[in-house]
């Protein structure tokens, strides 16, 4: 299955279709483990192709016999850029994700059935969404792998007004994080900047609070040991552990927020962690 999330038999959430680009990748021939599907959630200003395709994740998971569901977030990759702000809110995205994985065949975890449930791998913003998805869908999500995770969403402190001024007339942005994120978004000519700003605005309306809803399924947290955007990973781990979940942490030597994602150490650990 591939293509926009628009086929008639596919269900929409609240009657509107955000036109997210969804693909389902079948396991490589002869490798099917019969395990539950894996949902991949990419980061801000990235896409399924950049975050999971070009980096070798999809082929690695397929070769490990896993069925993979990918989705481009609104305003990213091949998904469309809805006009309304609501389409970008994390809660709405989570609702769309639930509909998408259900349409792709994911079913609640049943004891003794390795095909049931759903594993989720996120990176950066995708990790935030995965955390919340796991916390709100405890019956569906089996295990989580969160890459480059942060207990606060850096997008929440993004200076939207400064960014809009900069885009309108070039007024320099004072806040370093805001300037850095905008530069990252501008690096890719294919990005729809105004959609990305809508996403930021929506996220500011629903900032990440990991303690508000904590996932209880086993989770693996992974970050480069030079990842400045993930220095709060141990705090995130202790929030999950305090809530009673099994938590593993892995630091990838020599890697930062933008290059930890290709690491074999990361992939091998994720495949092993989810291969149960």
């Amino acid at each position: 299955m591939s293509g926009r999330h628009t086929e008639e038999h596919i269900h929409t959430v609240e009657g509107t279709d955000p036109h997210l680009f969804v693909e389902v990748h079948e396991p490589a021939e002869g490798t099917d483990t019969g395990l539950r599907p894996v949902l991949l959630l990419h980061g801000f200003s990235s896409s399924t192709k950049l975050n999971w395709g070009d980096t070798g994740w999809i082929s690695t998971l397929k070769s490990a016999g896993r069925r993979v569901i990918t989705v481009d977030l609104p305003g990213h990759g091949q998904s469309s850029s809805p006009e309304d702000l609501d389409s970008y809110s994390p809660s709405r995205i989570r609702a769309d994700l639930l509909q998408i994985v259900a349409d792709a065949g994911a079913r609640p975890v049943r004891a003794g059935d390795p095909a049931s449930g759903l594993d989720v791998i996120g990176y950066s913003l995708g990790s935030r969404l995965a955390w919340e998805f796991g916390a709100t869908q405890p019956e569906l999500v089996h295990r989580l792998v969160l890459g480059g995770p942060n207990k606060e969403d850096p997008l929440a402190s993004f200076d939207l007004a400064a960014a809009q001024r900069y885009l309108a007339d070039g007024t320099p942005i004072e806040d370093e994080s805001t300037a850095g994120l905008l530069k990252m978004a501008q690096l890719l000519p294919s990005n729809d900047l105004f959609a990305l700003l809508s996403l930021i605005e929506a996220i500011k309306g629903e900032p990440f609070d990991p303690a508000e809803a904590v996932p209880h399924m086993p989770m693996l947290l992974v970050a480069g040991d030079k990842d400045e955007r993930a220095v709060t990973m141990p705090e995130l781990a202790s929030i999950a552990a305090r809530a009673g979940g099994m938590v593993e942490q892995l630091l990838v030597p020599g890697r930062n927020h933008s290059n930890a994602v290709t690491s074999r150490v990361f992939k091998d650990a994720a495949v092993a962690f989810l291969g149960v």
């Binding site: 690096l187 933008s258 290709t262 690491s263």
Partner: protein, 109 residues
């Protein structure tokens, strides 16, 4: 045997260079087409570069942390002389097989 050099390809979006993160193959390795060769990082993203062909890796260029320009040598493969094509397969010259036999009376008029 022939050598085929694989230069750092155009990675798109105006990129002119990439930094080596980690090699996934070593000289002497036999690789398949599309097998990941190396992890690279550009100013925009990190990626794994798949091998454009099957062959034996005989040289790799760029230690982790080093920057390589687009068009500069990245990997040198050794391939048998007769498989140095990229599309299709080399036909084998098998002994000719036949099922049809000719029968004719040749009148020499």
């Amino acid at each position: 045997m022939a050598e085929i050099s694989f230069p750092l390809p155009d990675l798109g979006e105006g990129l002119i260079e990439a930094t080596v993160l980690d090699w996934l193959v070593s000289p002497g390795d036999q690789v398949e087409r599309n097998q990941p060769l190396v992890e690279l990082e550009t100013s925009k993203s990190a990626l794994e570069l798949p091998s454009p062909q099957a062959g034996k890796v005989i040289r790799i260029h760029g230690a982790p942390g080093e920057t390589i320009n687009v068009g500069e040598p990245l990997v040198v493969f050794e391939v048998p002389d007769n498989t140095a094509g990229i599309v299709g397969t080399v036909p084998q010259d098998d002994a000719p097989k036949r099922r049809v036999r000719l029968s004719a009376v040749l009148d020499e008029d």
